[in-house]
Symmetry: C2
Subunit: 298 residues, 2 copies
Amino acid sequence: MLIECIPNVSEGRRPEVVAALADTIRSTPGVHLLDFSSDASHNRSVFTLVGDAAGVEAAVIALFERALASIDLRTHKGEHPRLGAVDVVPFVPIEGATMADCVALARRVGAIVAERFQLPVYLYEEASTNPARKNLEDIRRGEFEGLAAKMASPEWAPDFGPAVPHASAGATVIGARMPLIAYNINLATDRLDVAKKIAAAIRHSSGGFRFVKAAGFMLADRGIVQVSMNLTNYEKTPIFRVFEVVKREAARYGVQVLESEIVGLIPSAALHAAAEHYLQIEGFKPDQVLEAKLKLKG
Amino acid sequence: MLIECIPNVSEGRRPEVVAALADTIRSTPGVHLLDFSSDASHNRSVFTLVGDAAGVEAAVIALFERALASIDLRTHKGEHPRLGAVDVVPFVPIEGATMADCVALARRVGAIVAERFQLPVYLYEEASTNPARKNLEDIRRGEFEGLAAKMASPEWAPDFGPAVPHASAGATVIGARMPLIAYNINLATDRLDVAKKIAAAIRHSSGGFRFVKAAGFMLADRGIVQVSMNLTNYEKTPIFRVFEVVKREAARYGVQVLESEIVGLIPSAALHAAAEHYLQIEGFKPDQVLEAKLKLKG
């Protein structure tokens, strides 16, 4: 069973601190650190690790310990909104793991770090226990600086830990979600209004697909516009359906799709689903993929 | 490095002989037997194994030894054409292996089995040393019964081994090829002539795509027709291009594509290429596939 975890930590300017956090993950048995990157203007780093449930749990708890010892939000500045030293910790099912496994892991890790570090923990997305606290943006609104006032309200009592912020580490948001696909479609036009209208048409918040976040941007250096998206559940809102609707909406303005791009990683199954759709493949089973079959035998 | 090998053996009616051949492969270190199946009317069995070059080589040589001890083509009957007790042995590059690796392995195994068992060996497809002997069908024409007469001609001197047939085991065809995709497209019509015309339009032998073999069939129980294909090089003749041409050709007769189907295994990359094509994805790299990234780290 493989689970991915993508902790977001509020430190992106001191490389030695980030390197120590990466080493903490790397030195945990049963876990691989796939990637990490820091953004100085955001003053934030993102780590991507995978492993079995026990390995990921151990690595994340060790990461909390190291991060809380070296990060103080009272002196932290950055462009990205944040609530805590370890700001957000999503668990994502990859291979042989279910969403239920990730929800259970999120709650278990939340309970442990709340207890061990006296840190308030909010559960979000699939691990949420409260519909009003499913969205990360809602939980994080007001940020670290507004946290004490926010937590004074009973509706913002945390899922685990004390009902007041940790003095230096604030609070942490832990949860479970599907793999996120960062997907952009570039249009053969410089009309930003078209990109913005299409983004509004397809995103959930304004009436579009349930698992799409979207915005329209100008790519000034290329003289074209982009519909930039996060697909938050590629099983329920598949990439091909989003692409086809963007293409149709663009055509309505006399605009063609120039190209699309996948930013970062994509689960193989999301690409297979697109192939199945366009090739009209019926009755396909995942174990017909040669590499999957090899893995089962390996 | 992973190489796949799919030996075709001329025995499909004696389960104990087939089971012993499967055991021979299974007991070779460094090799996994992915699958095997027998066809009684063909009197033939097909084994699918994968492993590193050394493992596959050892398994195939052991398979020859066992097969030659238990199969006598002088008393063999079956519908499928065959030249030898071990009839055809293709090596296929899978992961981290190139076609050149498979050609080298085919020639090495060919030389060893020719020497050890005094068996004539013909090299075919990518391992062929002679353009007139690239196609399996050409080499196999005349079958076991016509082999002595055929080999009397200098142009049919084998690549390895004696210039006369092995008394009980005939000759063997060994080579290297790309993974083969068995791909069918079902049409929403009962007009067999349409399926046959489309098959003729897309197959290499009558002017179609270089790496397509195709035939039209009636699926009597469903009242529809099928264009049944083997795609012999999905990199050079991609599945999406074949599908689109079949769809266009069918439309010319007022016929729609009902569905398509993958029979057996397909390399993940063949599905990814279809997704890239239809979604117009630019700049995609194989290591953006999450599972590939995990494997690199694993």
